[in-house]
Amino acid sequence: MVPFSGWYMPVQYTGIIEEHIHTRTAAGLFDICHMGEFILRGETAAGDLEKLMTRRIGDMPVGKCSYGFILNEAGGVIDDLIVFCLSRHEFLLVVNAGTTDKDRAWIEKNISAGTELRDVSAKTAKLDVQGPLSGDVVASLVGKGAVSGIKRYHFAWCKIGGMDTIVSRTGYTGELGFELFFQAERAPDIWDMLLKTGGVKPVGLGARDTLRLEMGYALYGNDIDEAHTPFEANLGRFVGMEKSFLGKDALLQQEDEGFKLLLAGFICEGRRSARKGFEVHVGEKKVGEVTSGAFSPCLKRGIGLCYIDKNLTGDGGEVLLTDGKTEIKATIKDIPVYKR
């Protein structure tokens, strides 16, 4: 158990590699109650969210989930989050645990008088079920019909027993998967119910990290932060430059002037893994820095993400990763480095 953004969480239950492989071949159950949830409500909520978020809100259909960013005035990422359109006047925002307080303060500062912001993080449990069998697992709680109707990046209101539950087809593993949101007091018994369905094992933070890293998904605090724009993180496709939003001016300037470093994936030569903070070298020159690194249970090699000179991000580029003591040869690779 380790401290994590104010929470105390398991790195593993039975073993990181076992939990990782089980998620890719069956179903893993993740306790994600630490993430934050906000409700934005009112006539002016959509307009305010349009201003705050890099994704289009105005034409978001009810039932849709949208991944995007809240930016600071310099275009740096305050947080990455998913917005759920509950109705034209009500939105659920799912944010990172470590940034919940910061996000709330920023949103409060930037909404109209008519928009109500409620931080429901403490009242909301979130459990993720991810893997090829996740549909069956969730169906045994909410019914097969309910699950089969949920498309990718959409959600539905379901019932577990009589309890209202939001079930979204979203996740952080690259597998078919679902995220369940419901009232916090029921978390322990819903957790037990899910484990009893058979085929699903609990998965800790360690495998959560190796799973997302195989997909090249950014982790806030490592790969994205207030010092980097979505363009630098190679996530410009989640930014609607055709609309207006806080931080857009800085991005326009960056489009004009260009930028030096771009986030890229890498695979190490062998099993040895580079870690956050390792430098990326080509020849004698430092050309970048590793922001995330770990062992990939599927590839059986070290993998990770790094910010590197924009001109060196081509697939196949050879680099040396070093912390001054250890040197690891690696190859820049298009993400995801893991393909099913």
Binding site: V11, Q12, G15, I16, I17, E18, G206, D209, T210, G270, R271, R272, S273, R275, A294, F295, P297, G302, T326
Partner: protein, 127 residues
Amino acid sequence: MIPRELKYTKEHEWVRIEGNEAVVGITDHAQSELGDITFVELPQKDAEVKQSDSVATVESVKAASDVYAPLSGKVLEVNEVLRESPETINSSPYGDGWICRVSVSDLGEQKSLLDAAAYQEYLNEQG
């Protein structure tokens, strides 16, 4: 169970002394703390090591850890199995997961090692 015939260090290495030679590995406690071991950097054959020098590196999914030589000597043999199957240390830390064999230069250094009972007591104090 902590094998009674081995000697131990406070850095959680074990050593099996066989005449003038010694076999070195890490303990069950160490492998359990590390979690799934994903990479082992073995020493070079014929390398000279001094007691408490780093002789190998063991990496788990999230972190790297040095293995320190319990005794000074020269590396005679390394466990090649660990190159492709480092997880052997997890499943058999005192057996198939041995790391290297050295020829001991000074058997007198043994006295700074812990016996099984002392190592167990040391573990108990860790909490």
